[in-house]
Amino acid sequence: MNIIELRGVGKQYHSKTALSGIDMSIGEGDSVTVFGPNGAGKTTLLKIISGLMQATRGKTFYNNKVYSESDIKKEVFYLGHKTALYNALTVQENMNFICRLFSLDHRGKSIENALRDHGLWERRMDPVNELSQGMKKRLALAKGFITNPEVFILDEPFTGLDLGWRSSVLSKIKNIRKRGKSVVISTHLVEEGYALADRVAFLHKGKLLFIKKKEEAEIGEIYSLFDSLGENIR
């Protein structure tokens, strides 16, 4: 069953068409990686999928019904370029706040487990602005573990991270997949994106060049697409 479906979705900015004619669906436990060079419209696409932004064209369905913003936002975990954390609050306080928003018990073990899982338990009393970029990213992901939504939408989750952090964030996202959640990520890192995907999509100038099963798309194909667009991604 499709959780989210886009039909003929387009987004028009003032003078620029950011997206046009996007058809795609995200099923239960599905994992889609959207590749594309900078400025291809990846962020816009992910914002529309998450319900944060409204398309100017086409229709968006959520559980086969026309979008209702409040419905979808409960079931979506969205991580954009920013971490959506309160910098002045401590790690623990950020987690407590999330629990309150979702009316979850914040005294139980769930926060502890999520923080331990992400290697942040020792730092729980530190304010977020004292954490490294990689730790912030992992804390942001840990919030998703607590709230347990159906769909994770991660926009460039590896940007600004060095290799070590990159692989640790990668394994966290793999954990999400193991729990049967749907994951949509955008990236221009071919290795990582390919490793996570059931299906791969390539976005260029606001249009989907393809969206197909991983088995039908060689990793080399994606590399050569990037190369042909003159993007240096290695």
Partner: protein
């Protein structure tokens, strides 16, 4: 094409209406007994105020429709209407000031009606400052629609509050009998003329803004 024809028609009729209006104001309308010739500015002042109010009503309605339909053409309608509204409001303030000088012997008076226009003027200047500060076209439209609505509903409250605060506006009557019938007719004609002017300016400016937008899109496409 059809709008073009309307615009041209309105322009041509204004070529007749405007001079006629001024002729009526300065030659036909009788001289007011107490204030003398200065009172004639009143016909412009009131017509301008009506035009400004009309424009801001269009901003308000277009803003609501934009938030509902999310179609950027309503935002364009709101913003060009706000431009016209600010222009007319500025003229209201200037004519009010010109009038106040000989009548009350001051350049500015804290009269509630004038004060309401001044505060409106500030609000819609803020509207344009906000628009200038947001690059994303859609967000710009969304946010300025919020201001367009908030600013408009403020009008009656400001009006009432300032009135309660102070009222020294003169009553333009001859022994409380209302306006002289000729004065009334001239006033009506003047308001009608400015109504046509507002509609003309709106359509003209709206068309121009739409064309600018289309040009920008075409330019972008050429670059790509």
């Amino acid at each position: 094409m059809k709008t073009n024809r309307i615009i041209i028609f309105l322009f041509l009729s204004l070529l007749i209406l405007m001079p006629l209006d001024f002729f009526l104001i300065f030659r036909v309308a009788p001289t007011e007994r107490v204030m003398g010739d200065v009172q004639r500015i009143f016909y412009l002042h009131i017509s301008l105020a009506m035009a400004a109010f009309l424009s801001l009503t269009v901003v308000f309605i277009s803003s609501i429709i934009f938030l509902w339909k999310k179609d950027l053409k309503w935002d364009t309608a709101a913003s060009v209407s706000a431009e016209i509204g600010v222009l007319f409001a500025t003229l209201v303030l200037i004519t009010g000031s010109l009038w106040a000088r000989p009548i009350w012997n001051v350049w500015w008076t804290w009269d509630p009606r004038l004060l309401t226009v001044l505060i409106l003027w500030f609000i819609y200047i803020g509207y344009f400052l906000l628009r200038g500060g947001i690059a994303d076209r859609f967000r710009k439209a969304q946010y300025s629609a919020v201001i367009g609505i908030i600013g408009y509903v403020d009008i009656p409250v400001v009006r009432y509050a300032t009135k309660w605060w102070k009222s020294i506006h003169p009553l333009l009557t001859k022994q409380g009998g209302g306006l002289d019938p000729v004065m009334k007719k001239v006033m009506f004609f003047s308001m009608a003329t400015f109504f046509v002017l507002t509609v003309f300016l709106f359509l003209f400016r709206f068309r121009l803004a739409r064309m600018e937008e289309r040009l920008l899109i075409l330019k972008k496409r050429m670059e790509d």
